[in-house]
């Protein structure tokens, strides 16, 4: 067991660090939940892509660097430490792309991935429905066979950045007689197609951070089905494990935030009153980083992501909230008007999206600890 990096990995990390240092936008981009900020973020993504830093772990034929998982994690650490912009296409890059790598056709990969890598096409995740939140298998949106493809009908909701995105991916009930996990098919759809209506929904900060999407006889071609018809649930589970497990919340994010918290604490004269909480935040971020190194090693040696994804998610969602709460308490009344309060609001969504904490705890208890299954 060791934590030493080999020379090639160090060189990769240093190259990323140098590039970020000299290419970061010289001012903070506007929020990607505004039309203006969304456009600025697309420009930034194109710049990242030009230097092949937008999707480092992908094969080079799609715009990546064939980087190993470890290199990817280190890149993310550099990215967050540099204070680089949030990734506007993260649902595409970190959720749809892994799904396409495991279940997509070659045609789909060629058609979709290069444009995703440059954020020429930004993707929204259209999973949740008004009645299907935690219980995603209760979804009601339908897909009906028609010539050369399918007609989609129904309503999706809480779709992040769908107000500005180009395409969406999600499950539809393709077998009308089916219930729950059976008879679902995984589709990709153009959000500008006839019959699609997107209604932006303002989030707590007032910006349209997510949207509902209405499908009214929207035609999608057969080539936009991912995996086999009726096998959508299985395909979706790959995506879900990715969301919870590794990709969405790289340890770099929490390490960078913990470092900022330590700086803030120092700036306030290192008050003893907050010492324990600041130390705990840093220790938590470090624990999360090391845990991720363990996961990376296991995956590199052929392992799979399983229910420990839920352990991971529980840990980071708590860490993120605690870290931000500590910052606000430390800042005192100034926190009311400080950027940290925006970060705090965002941290509060962590225990909800990607499977709520309550659902994750049940998964951990039943699937990892083998406790008896309760009613659900």
């Amino acid at each position: 067991m060791d934590l030493d990096l080999d020379a090639a990995t160090i060189a990769f990390r240093d190259e990323a660090r140098d590039w970020l240092r000299s290419n970061l936008p010289d001012r903070r981009l506007a929020s990607f939940d505004t039309a203006e900020g969304f456009a600025e973020h697309r420009e930034w993504e194109a710049r990242l892509a030009d230097a092949r830093w937008s999707v480092v772990s992908w094969p080079s034929e799609f715009g990546g660097r064939d980087a190993s998982l470890l290199e990817w994690v280190l890149f993310e650490e550099e990215y967050y430490a540099a204070g680089a912009p949030l990734r506007v296409n993260q649902n595409g890059i970190f959720m749809l792309a892994p799904t396409l790598f495991s279940h997509g056709t070659e045609e789909q990969q060629r058609r979709i991935l290069p444009k995703m890598a440059r954020s020429e096409e930004v993707w929204a995740q259209a999973w949740s429905e008004p009645e299907a939140g935690s219980d995603i298998a209760a979804l009601r949106s339908t897909a009906t066979r028609t010539e050369g493809g399918w007609l989609l009908n129904g309503q999706k909701t809480w779709s992040s950045r769908a107000a500005f995105a180009d395409h969406a991916f999600g499950l539809f009930r393709s077998d009308p007689a089916s219930t729950r996990h059976k008879g679902l098919t995984y589709f990709m759809a153009d959000l500008r197609a006839d019959g699609v209506t997107v209604r932006p929904i303002p989030q707590l900060d007032g910006e349209p951070g997510f949207a509902e999407i209405f499908f009214d006889d929207v035609f999608v071609s057969d080539v936009d089905v991912i995996g086999a018809v009726g096998e959508g649930w299985k395909v979706a589970m790959t995506t879900a494990n990715n969301e919870r497990g590794l990709s969405l919340r790289s340890p770099g994010r929490f390490l960078a935030a913990a470092d900022r918290l330590v700086d803030e604490w120092s700036r306030h004269g290192r008050p003893r009153e907050f010492a324990d909480r600041v130390a705990d935040a840093w220790i938590g971020a470090r624990a999360y980083q090391l845990y991720t190194f363990g996961t990376v090693t296991r995956l590199a040696e052929g392992g799979q992501l399983g229910p420990e994804s839920s352990v991971n998610k529980l840990f980071w969602s708590h860490l993120d909230v605690a870290l931000h709460e500590t910052a606000l308490d430390l800042l005192g009344p100034e926190s009311e008007v400080d950027d940290w309060s925006g970060g705090w609001l965002f941290s509060l969504a962590g225990p909800i999206y990607g499977g709520t904490d309550q659902i994750q705890r049940t998964t951990v208890a039943e699937r990892l600890l083998g406790l008896p299954r309760g009613d659900r």
Binding site: S128, E131, G133, S134, D135, A138, T157, W158, I201, P202, Q203, L204, D205, G206, F210, P271, E273, F274, V321, L328, D329, L331, G332, P333, E334, S335, E336, V337, S341, G342, W344, L345, L348, A349, P351, I352, Y353, T356, D357, Q358, R361, T362, D375, R376
Partner: protein, 292 residues
């Protein structure tokens, strides 16, 4: 000893509640809310801090925006002046800066009385830039202190009353968050049943009601004595309880609670802003310890 609200106080709370439900803050002056602490010689009610708590609990429950703490709770302890007659009539608003606990001025652009408390001195201030608060309903301005205009009647008492009224607002916010989360848990179905049937949800809500119920007596005791230790103990416990009500409320509602279209968010962000207003948790904890 009779440590519970009187029938009159309960009726007062009920009439504020009804007024805010039906007509919004407009009717509050008629009920005498702004006049509560104004002395009778300025046409006020000369009421007790416990009545203030009853009223601010309702203001918090209904998330009423505006400089109510400044105007109704704090100003009458700072001044002994005709301007209080305007407050009692519901015509005059105050905006008060009390550093370091209240660094920015709420609704300074609408306030007739703009006061900067500097020890025992009172200064005017000039309002500067409008800042963006985590609570979108709080319009905060930077404040540049000006000339000394006189001595505060009782600056220390003004602070205790500011903290007390803020604490009462937090209690009301917490109660609303609990009530509405309980109602939602009884109605929202996932996996074929009301989410309130899941023990995970039951336990979260049970913890909130426990915290709120045990914080409330501290608030009432603080209103009776207005002693710094009692006010601080109340602020710490109520703010923690209200915050747990906010966190739990958001968690129980899921994504619908995360929208600006749902009333939960405004309570959540207001709770966060009030936790650090009129003394942080750290400040109040320290005051408790130093008094022991």
């Amino acid at each position: 000893m009779r440590f519970t609200l009187s029938q009159e106080q309960l009726d007062f709370a009920a009439s504020i509640d009804a007024c805010l439900t039906d007509t919004g803050p407009k009717g509050l002056a008629e009920l005498g809310v702004p006049a509560l602490l104004v002395p009778e010689r300025f046409d006020g009610l000369g009421a007790e801090p416990i009545d203030l708590v009853v009223a601010f609990d309702q203001l918090g429950y209904h998330a009423v925006p505006g400089p109510w703490v400044d105007t109704v709770a704090v100003l009458p302890a700072l001044l002994d002046d005709e301007i209080l007659a305007g407050v009692a009539a519901g015509e005059t608003l105050a905006s008060i800066v009390y550093r370091p606990h209240v660094p920015y001025a709420l609704d300074a652009d609408n306030a007739e009385a703009k006061l900067f408390v500097d020890g025992d001195d009172l200064r005017t201030f000039t309002a500067g830039r409008l800042l963006s608060s985590v609570d979108k309903a709080r319009r905060l301005f930077e404040a540049e202190p000006g000339e000394v205009i006189g001595k505060a009647a009782d600056a220390a008492r003004a602070f205790e009353l500011g903290a007390l009224a803020t604490t009462a607002q937090l209690l009301g916010l917490g109660r609303w968050l609990l009530d509405n989360s309980v109602a939602y848990a009884k109605q929202r179905k996932q996996y074929g049943r009301e989410i309130g049937q899941y023990q995970a949800i039951k336990h979260l809500l049970a913890d909130v009601v426990t915290r709120l119920e045990l914080a409330k007596p501290l608030l009432y005791a603080a209103a009776l004595s207005l002693r710094p230790r009692d006010v601080s103990a109340a602020k710490v416990a109520v703010a923690d309880a209200a915050y747990s009500a906010a966190r739990t409320g958001l968690q129980v509602h899921g994504a619908i609670g995360y929208t600006a279209e749902h009333p939960l968010g405004a309570r959540l962000t207001k709770a966060r802003a009030l936790i650090t207003a009129w003394g942080t948790q750290g400040f109040h904890r320290t005051r408790v310890l130093e008094s022991l």
